[in-house]
């Protein structure tokens, strides 16, 4: 059983990194995109950075919950944001800047796992899973039992094809923190991958809500049940997944199989036809996107923007507003449409009484009052 992240990993490496764009831009929405793993190099499944408790009014803003409240009176002192360097023009320069960012974060917050996660994500994206693994192993040595470390090490082990080792780590992660985002689904998927479908079912069905739920978890559960020959149960899981996410081709494919194995021929044919139509559209999109696969530098610039946005979030959670602002501004340098950074900056400026700068930021990045919905997605 495989996930969107697997697809993304394949994509990140295939001919011309062919599938990087296929997956990130095209396929990811059609795969187990919510399985807890993110495409290689994207923000990881670690829980949101801990933030000071927000007031009810602050919670009304998506970014407010993570932002320290600005002084209540008087105009906030304008942050001194030094001139920022030009964007790196080569991959080597980009990598150097990225790893410097990660190193700086680790130096500032040596006891926080988030900088390790960000550094690991960068190494992973740069094709250096060994370095990413070493970071988390060192963290684990200092923090025995760390669920975050086991989760990441499990994920990396999977990427290296060390499935049994992956299961060991993920079991530790899930055992220590069942609520750790991604742990349950990754473990369930990994168990199914090593042929332990019964254990996968037990993990994935644990605390499954009676209604709604994560469609990808339900899809994985359905596929695990297929492996076990529990066709009726699988069918129910796939139907629930499709009720939540009607566009899921994996659920649709699983449903067609389950119906076929249950002797529901017409239903199986119908679901197969729907699935085939969606696959054909996906293929057409991939073909049309071939020119974008010629160079991954634009994608790396987007990734850098995302990493700076994450860095800003880490800074803010630790109360370093100035560093957060620097990071978010750098994120916008890399990708003017970077939604998280833009929204965070606008919110920060609003709180600091610097609304003009917020408006200026939006104008410079091509927006007026709302960030464009589709721009800057990475």
């Amino acid at each position: 059983m495989r996930s969107a992240a697997r697809e993304a990993r394949v994509g990140a490496r295939r001919r011309l990194d062919v599938r990087l764009w296929i997956v990130v831009v095209m396929i990811a929405p059609l795969t187990f995109s919510g399985c807890g793993e993110a495409p290689r190099g994207a923000p990881g499944p670690l829980p949101p950075v801990a933030a000071p408790r927000a007031t009810a009014s602050e919670r009304s803003s998506p970014s407010a919950a993570a932002a320290p409240r600005a002084p209540a009176t008087g105009r906030a002192k304008r942050s001194a944001t030094p001139p920022r360097p030009p964007l790196p023009e080569s991959f080597e320069a980009l990598r150097e800047e990225a790893l410097a960012l990660a190193a700086a974060l680790r130096q500032r917050y040596p006891d926080a796992p988030e900088p390790i996660d960000l550094a690991g994500t960068m190494h992973d994206r740069f094709g250096n899973l060994t370095a990413a693994t070493s970071l988390w192993e060192a963290w684990l040595a200092d923090h025995p039992g760390s669920a975050e470390a086991h989760l990441r090490l499990g994920k990396y082990a999977r990427e290296k094809g060390e499935e049994t080792r992956a299961v060991e780590h993920l079991e530790q992660a899930f055992g220590a923190r069942p609520d750790l985002p991604g742990a349950q689904i990754l473990l369930g998927e990994s168990l199914a991958n090593v042929g332990r479908a019964d254990d996968a079912i037990a993990v994935l069905a644990r605390d499954l809500p009676a209604t709604a739920g994560n469609p990808n978890r339900l899809t994985l559960l359905g596929h695990a049940r297929l492996q076990q020959g529990e066709f009726a149960g699988a069918k129910a899981d796939f139907e629930r997944a499709l009720a939540i996410d009607p566009a899921s081709p994996h659920a649709l494919y699983g449903l067609s199989i389950a119906c076929g194995r249950l002797g529901e021929t017409e239903a199986a044919q119908r679901h197969r036809a729907d699935f085939a139509t969606r696959k054909a559209h996906s293929l057409a999109r991939d073909r049309a996107n071939a020119p974008a696969r010629l160079d991954d530098m634009p994608a790396l610039l987007q990734a850098m923007a995302g990493w700076y946005a994450t860095a800003g979030r880490i800074d803010l959670a630790r109360g370093d507003t100035a560093a957060a602002e620097r990071d978010w501004l750098r994120a916008v340098d890399f990708a003017p449409g970077q939604r998280e950074a833009r929204a965070a900056l606008v919110d920060l400026y609003r709180r600091q009484g610097r609304d003009g700068e917020g408006r200026g930021l939006l104008e410079r990045s091509g927006a007026t009052t709302q960030p464009p919905a589709a721009a800057g997605r990475n």
């Binding site: 990140a12 001919r15 990087l20 296929i22 990427e159 297929l226 293929l283 696969r293 991954d296 530098m297």
Partner: protein, 589 residues
């Protein structure tokens, strides 16, 4: 090509046909593999290979013809074929090779090689003498007796026109492409397979084609500054081709009329087999990062594509793979032929279990067949019983397409060890290192073929390695005192095609029924196994062999001995109406 009588030294082998029908034999066939015999497997590996390449004298070195511009044909060359071209009883090897691509300076002029097996693990380069010294850019190859003269002919697919080579029976081959009409334009080809699609007694040609590549305007993509190859989704795919054998040396392009051209995909490996047990031959075609095709034959050579319906288009979760090579064999001893498919890095190889003719299911995870190869790009493959224990094992030849991959991805490598998964009954155990495969220098493998190269009763391996010399793996099962018996079967068709391609063979032992079919084209765009090989496991005798001929009837042959090659000639056995009348068999054959 006129039909000629065979004048084969194989006549020294006796076709044990027409002997007394053994009568009702109490055999219980319950689909379970025979129990593993007590062995010292815990102390020593049950399968061990020795790299004997250096001693063979084979000087072949593969060359993809690349100039550094990274054209996609470089990534797919080439398969490999093993067959007895001169009928001397020893299996020879044909290595396709690349050719200089635009921009290659100075010219290197790589050549294919026919390596004649002279025994004792020594081979002679007979390419020029055989008339096979050509400059085509080879990607695929298959073998079959197209003119039913008893001598195996050769078909090659290329980056360019396909070639058909008639075996003249004197050790030479004649390029009969023009007369046959099978050049198929100027396409980048892929896997080839021969089958008697319409049951008329001669072999037709299925030719997969890959993508519409042109070096004009080529721009090599880059990742993190490192140049890459384009993938198949960056190009339009060619439709595959189907040529019907007219029986007079000519072939008719019936790609459209047969239904083959109704769908289009970037084809790779091909294998033909009777997927539903209805007595005709169907075609399974891999497509690279696209849905695979299963062409179901209506018995007349008209096909309907039913891959999605059969569960073969995608993997378990409905994802297309970078499908590469495919082999066919009964891995769970249930009497139905399963499929073993290799795939790209980050994808699991897929073992498709045949649901008794009612479709297939991906059992890779459940059976452990997916273990040990995820990070590698996987190409050649085989469903082969290496230790003659009656259970067919799985082999994968591995190697990345990009020699620079380690610069941007440390989870994989250009050169890899190959992977062996031993069948322990319902599950597979990865034992590549224990079998000696990690002692073999790493290469970037492509095609793989498995045959008994030293006629000792176990199956050896030949691996074509991109840009390097091949690897010859000697299976040491017999040398190490392998405890299991074996039987090899070669068919001689009379009314049906001469080599019995497509025939279904059931070897009945006191404890099991072992099933296989004769293929002409399998693995990664290659060919092997014209002689069927059966490890007999704990059985010390074979009660009979049943053959269902394509376009013909079913016969039973009594076999007096084991640990030998038997030649079964159509018409020399006892005709039977149903398979294994004494067995409890749930299938519909």
């Amino acid at each position: 090509m006129p039909r000629r009588l065979a004048r084969s030294p194989l006549a020294r082998f006796i076709a044990l046909a027409g002997l007394t029908w053994p009568g009702i034999v109490a055999v219980v066939v319950n689909g379970e593999p025979p129990p593993a015999p007590p062995t010292d497997a815990a102390k020593r590996p049950p399968i061990v290979f020795e790299d004997v390449t250096a001693a063979t004298g084979i000087g072949f070195v593969h060359d993809d013809g690349g100039s550094g511009r990274r054209f996609i044909p470089e990534t797919v060359t080439a398969g490999v074929a093993t067959f007895d071209h001169d009928l001397d009883g020893r299996i020879d090897i044909y290595f396709p090779n690349g050719a200089d691509l635009p921009g290659t300076e100075p010219p290197r002029r790589p050549r294919a090689m026919l390596a004649r097996n002279r025994g004792g693990w020594r081979f002679d380069d007979v390419t020029a003498a055989a008339g096979l010294d050509h400059e085509a850019y080879g990607v695929g190859v298959t073998v079959g007796d197209l003119d039913n003269d008893g001598f195996p002919d050769l078909c090659t697919s290329n980056d360019g026109p396909k070639r058909m080579w008639q075996n003249m029976g004197d050790g030479t081959f004649l390029d009969v492409t023009a007369a046959a009409g099978t050049a198929d334009g100027d396409k980048l080809g892929a896997g080839l397979a021969l089958l008697d699609a319409d049951g008329d007694g001669d072999l037709d040609l299925y030719a997969a084609n890959y993508v519409r590549f042109s070096p004009e305007g080529h721009v090599s993509p880059r990742i993190r500054g490192v140049p890459l190859y384009h993938g198949p989704r960056d190009y339009e795919a060619w439709p595959d081709s189907f040529f019907r054998n007219d029986g007079d040396g000519r072939f008719s392009d019936e790609s459209v009329a047969s239904g083959i051209a109704a769908v289009v995909g970037p084809g790779m490996g091909v294998v033909c087999f009777d997927e539903e047990g209805d007595g005709d031959t169907d075609i399974f075609v891999l497509n690279d990062v696209a849905a695979n095709f299963l062409f179901r034959n209506d018995g007349t050579g008209r096909f309907a594509e039913v891959g999605l319906e059969a569960g073969l288009a995608y993997d378990m979760i409905g994802q297309p793979n970078g499908s590469m090579g495919v082999d066919c064999g009964d891995v769970d001893s249930d009497g139905w032929l399963d499929l073993w498919m290799t795939s790209y890095q980050g994808e699991r190889p897929v073992l498709y279990h045949n649901l008794a003719g009612q479709g297939f299911e991906d059992v890779s995870s459940r059976t452990g067949a997916a273990a040990g190869s995820l990070p590698w790009v996987k190409w050649g493959c085989g469903i082969v019983d290496f230790d003659n224990d009656g259970r067919r094992d799985l082999f994968i030849a591995c190697g990345h397409i990009n020699d620079l991959v380690e610069q941007f991805d440390d989870t994989t490598a250009y050169r890899n060890h190959n992977v062996l998964l031993r069948n322990v009954g319902g599950r597979f155990v990865e034992m590549s290192a224990a079998a000696g495969l990690h002692a073999v220098p790493r290469h970037s493998a492509r095609g793989a073929a498995f045959d008994d190269l030293d006629n000792d009763g176990d199956l050896d391996g030949v691996i074509l390695n991109a840009r390097e010399a091949p690897t010859l793996l000697r299976n040491l099962d017999r040398e190490r005192g392998g405890e299991h018996h074996w039987l090899q079967v070669r068919l001689v068709g009379r009314d049906s095609n001469r080599d019995g391609v497509g025939a279904n063979v059931r070897v009945v032992t006191p404890g099991a029924v072992l099933v296989d079919e004769v293929h002409a084209g399998r693995g990664y765009q290659g060919h092997f196994g014209s002689r069927l090989h059966f490890g007999l496991g704990p059985a010390a005798a074979v009660e009979r062999v049943e053959v269902r001929w394509i376009g013909g009837g079913r016969e039973a042959f009594d076999v007096a001995g084991i640990d030998r090659l038997v030649v079964l000639t159509e018409g020399a056995g006892r005709r039977v109406d149903r398979p294994g009348e004494v067995e409890t068999e749930p299938d519909r054959r």
